[in-house]
């Protein structure tokens, strides 16, 4: 709870700093504030508390998820220091929006009440709508923001409708009361309809089949740093919320409901990986890769409580490699109109360290051993086989093989062209380099010692 208060004050403080003309201090103060918030959050690790009539629940799971969100925000805010150089008069707005986004993410995993969940979701979504359209002079950014806003609010509508139906069935917004009602009473039909409506919204938010169509377009049009935020922080926050809701609602659903989810996972994996093959724009490629990763994370959600450490591990691995990859993409594409893969030609000759970093990040996403992404996939496979989802695992294996092709397309493009083939000049940027290296080093460390993460649970 202290974390939430600290974050809210931090977000307001940023706006105040702008008013009292301390623009230079905004990023350092935010970074320090995030560290404080991380510390406050970590203090609650071994406690279980609830606040405001069970509106906010703090326990080990929420603390760990929030710790991940804070770390990701830390990286994203740090990247903003370079990214918003051109629009330095807006930096307070963007930074405080990101802190609000973090608050939304916090509420989305720490809720004890459906109202709080919806509020968290909306805080997160609205900040993202604004950030997606934040490059006001660029028509693509406008398009992206508009598209995301229209479709996102539609999805929110579905979720709200679902919550209302569930309230009708259980007479409560409180999660504990809902669990009580579902286990003790016979549920009317509209309870299931309610959860399926929520499912529609949640699948939209994590960009899983059949509600994934927005992702590539919105990712492509949005400013690069917003794309980073969407594909890392916003995605894992939505997955975290989905996971928490699934623990409550999946047991109450009919037995063959898990088949539906398994089917959606398989199609999500297939669609994400197949569509990524032909992309020439790296943002679209990352969008489709993100769709396939949503499929993997859904796998953990389907398995349930036993897979909790493994879901968290997968999320950490995915988000960290996402941060590392996008930092390098920012480095390469910082002043390009479009973020094409051909811009990476000859990058290995120009900056071998970052080329290797991006390669490692992509290899981690592809699941090559010793990187964290490999263990993430391995743990999920083991758990899924344990539960008897053989077909799903085989499909996941086959789609992983397909994914090698497009990840390697980028890697090979970086390494095989001479510097004279480069389509662009690369501008030096220390900040992006530092963030990329930090993220990939953490990824490597948790790859070498997965116990660091797994033993937290």
């Amino acid at each position: 709870m202290n974390t939430l208060i600290a974050l809210a004050s931090l977000a307001v403080l940023i706006l105040v700093l702008e008013i009292i003309n301390l623009r230079k201090g905004i990023i350092p103060v935010t970074l320090m504030g995030l560290m404080v918030a991380f510390g406050l959050n970590w203090c609650d690790l071994n406690t279980t508390q609830s606040f405001f009539n069970n509106m906010i629940v703090v326990n080990k799971t929420t603390v760990l998820f929030n710790a991940l969100f804070i770390v990701l925000t830390y990286f994203i805010v740090a990247l903003g220091h370079s990214f918003y150089k051109q629009q330095s008069d807006k930096i307070s707005d963007y930074t405080s929006l990101k802190i609000f986004l973090l608050i939304g993410a916090y509420c989305m995993v720490s809720f004890g009440n459906m109202v709080m969940f919806f509020m968290g979701l909306e805080i997160l979504s609205i900040t993202l709508y604004v950030l997606a359209g934040s490059d006001r002079t660029n028509i693509k950014s406008n398009e992206s923001g508009m598209k995301y806003f229209l479709m996102g609010s539609f999805a929110s509508g579905f979720i709200l409708f679902g919550i209302a139906l569930i309230y009708g069935a259980t007479a409560s917004f409180d999660l504990d009361q809902i669990v009580l009602a579902t286990t003790q009473l016979a549920m009317p039909k509209w309870f299931m309809v309610g959860f399926v409506l929520m499912l529609v919204g949640l699948l939209f938010k994590i960009a899983a089949f059949p509600f994934h169509f927005w992702a590539p377009d919105v990712y492509q049009g949005a400013p690069l740093l917003t794309t980073t935020t969407m594909s890392t922080l916003a995605k894992v926050a939505a997955v975290g919320a989905f996971y928490k809701l699934s623990l409550v609602f999946f047991p109450a659903m009919p037995a063959n409901f898990s088949n539906l989810i398994a089917f959606l996972i398989i199609i999500t994996l297939v669609v994400g990986n197949i569509m990524a093959l032909k992309q020439t724009n790296i943002k679209r490629l990352m969008a489709y890769s993100g769709i396939s990763h949503a499929g993997f994370m859904l796998m953990a959600i389907l398995i349930g409580k036993e897979a909790e450490p493994h879901l968290f591990y997968y999320m950490t691995a995915y988000a960290l490699s996402g941060i590392a990859a996008f930092s390098v993409i920012l480095y390469v594409c910082q002043d390009k109109k479009e973020e094409l893969i051909i811009h990476f030609r000859g990058f290995a000759k120009n900056n071998p360290v970052l080329a290797v970093t991006l390669s490692l990040a992509l290899l981690s996403m592809a699941g090559i051993p010793i990187l964290a992404g490999f263990f993430g996939k391995l743990f999920l496979f083991t758990q899924a086989l344990n539960q008897g989802y053989y077909v799903m695992v085989i499909c996941a294996v086959i789609t992983s093989i397909i994914s090698i092709y497009y990840y390697f397309k980028v890697i090979v493009t970086m390494f095989t062209y001479k510097s004279s083939d480069a389509q662009t000049t690369f501008t030096q940027n220390k900040l992006y380099t530092v963030v990329a290296l930090t993220a990939i080093v953490i990824n490597l460390i948790i790859g070498f010692y997965p116990s660091i993460i797994l033993d937290l649970f």
Binding site: F379, F415, S451
Partner: protein, 466 residues
């Protein structure tokens, strides 16, 4: 002494090579590999005296993964092959001046590290990690230092990577399934697991996809000839001399012990596939006009025989496979080195561009003849011992198998002698073929001594693992 020292030295050597400049890189790599060869021999002495050279350490508690490097006869033989063959391969690469040699040799040493780890690891997951790690360096070696245009090379190497990676992911799924049955990845637990025939069939097929592609067994061989041809010679030697041994070794170490009660039809199908591969590859080799492709297909034929013997699953097959793996490792490195020497003089791999070498370079011709005879399996050479044992093992299973597999010797003799006749004898070309240098003499000399020495007294090797 502990076997993990070898792995550490390879990694440190790779780091040192990367940090050095292009000039000294090859020398540093050579020294590293020589140090490891000596250490491996010392480890062998230690092992034979009953010393404990294994390394076991808990890595991850849940899932239960142990960093275990346990040495037994089989892994020690493979470790010796790796550590002894690597200095020869590096020495053989001195002929060619590579750009950015420090990166190349660092990758070579890193690959040796991964392969040594594969041979030593006794925990399924650690083994899998090393297995995959070996793939990345060879991908980059082929991609960045290979021959031909970017576009062609890129396509060939990506095909190779995806192909092999695809196979190994099925192996990973098999390991994950086995873990759900036993709660452990350790070899000692996995080899004792009781599987129903149906389970064993699926596990066997998953492993077969990984190993069949790596070895390669017909019909998974399509990546091989192109990859061998486009890779630089050092990459081809690593691939054919060592990397495909990982596949055969894994059959003996993992596939047969774990999925032992697989149904007889599947075993027979797999053996028949291997034999089809032997004849098919021999016939293509017969028609090849490029010496590197010819050797690639000849290698496929020989390894097909090894795989067939390994899948027989009895003691004779096991022994024959191990002996022939060592023999084939030395023979194929020797053959590719000979091809590289010819390429250096003639600047071509095409057989039609060669001829009349014998008159200009008698020493070279002698070495060529000896190594070629070892490849065909002439009695007295090391190649004979392994090939004979393998054919004997096949005849124990089914006489017809041995008959068909035996054609590989006849066909092998035919295409090798035909190549020898066209390339080394024949009418001289306008180009001058200078006699071999001291460095080349040393490399070929070592290989010849090994092949003839072990051919006459194979007990030296067989004592290790029987």
């Amino acid at each position: 002494m502990n076997c993990i020292i070898i792995l550490l030295i390879y990694v440190l050597g790779a780091g040192a090579t990367l940090a050095s400049n292009s000039k000294n890189a090859a020398k540093i790599a050579l020294v590293t590999s020589l140090i490891n060869a000596v250490i491996a021999l010392m480890l062998t002495a230690d092992y034979l005296n009953g010393g404990n050279i294994s390394f076991v350490q808990q890595w991850i508690s849940n899932p239960n993964i142990t960093l275990s490097f346990v040495v037994d006869g089989l892994s020690l033989t493979m470790l010796l092959l790796t550590t002894l063959l690597l200095p020869i391969i590096i020495l053989a690469s001195f002929n060619t001046l590579y750009s950015k040699a420090n990166q190349l040799y660092a990758l070579v040493l890193f690959m040796a590290f991964a392969m040594a780890g594969t041979f030593l690891a006794q925990d399924g997951l650690v083994y899998y990690i090393f297995w995959e790690l070996a793939l990345l360096p060879i991908f980059f070696i082929g991609l960045l230092w290979g021959s031909d245009e970017w576009k062609v090379r890129k396509r060939v190497m990506i095909t190779f990577f995806i192909y092999t990676f695809a196979g190994s992911l099925f192996m990973l799924a098999a390991f994950a399934y086995l873990y759900t049955k036993t709660g452990s990845f350790a070899w000692t637990d996995l080899s004792q697991v009781m599987l129903s025939t149906k389970e064993a069939n699926y596990i066997f097929m998953a492993f077969f996809l990984a190993y069949g592609i790596k070895i390669p067994v017909f019909p998974f061989h399509t990546w091989q000839a192109n990859t061998y041809e486009k890779s630089p010679t050092i990459g081809t030697m690593l691939l054919s001399g060592l990397m495909l041994k990982m596949g055969v070794y894994s059959i003996l170490r993992w596939q047969m012990p774990i999925a032992g009660n697989v149904s007889a039809e599947i075993i027979n199908t797999v053996i028949v596939l291997c034999i089809i591969g032997i004849i098919y590859a021999s016939l293509i080799a017969l028609r090849s006009d490029n010496i590197k492709r010819l050797l690639a297909y000849s290698s496929m034929a020989h390894v097909g025989l090894i795989a067939a013997g390994a899948y027989v699953g009895n003691t004779t097959g096991y022994q024959g496979a191990v002996i022939q793996m060592v023999a084939h490792g030395f023979v194929v490195v020797g053959l590719f080195y000979l091809a590289d020497i010819i390429h250096n003089r003639y600047d071509s791999y095409m057989i039609k561009d060669m001829g009349g070498i014998r008159a200009q370079a008698p020493k070279f011709t002698t070495f060529f003849l000896i190594i070629m005879f070892a490849s065909i399996g002439l009695p007295g050479t090391f190649g004979f011992v392994g090939e004979f044992t393998l054919l004997y093992a096949l005849s124990e299973k089914e006489l017809l198998y041995a008959l068909f597999a035996g054609t590989s010797i006849i066909l092998g003799a035919y295409y090798m002698l035909k190549m020898f006749q066209n390339a080394v004898l024949g009418t001289p070309t306008s180009k001058v073929f200078s006699e071999i240098t001291t460095k080349e003499y040393v490399v070929l000399g070592i290989i010849t001594v090994v092949l003839i020495g072990l051919g006459i007294y194979p007990k030296l090797l067989t004592d290790l693992f029987i």
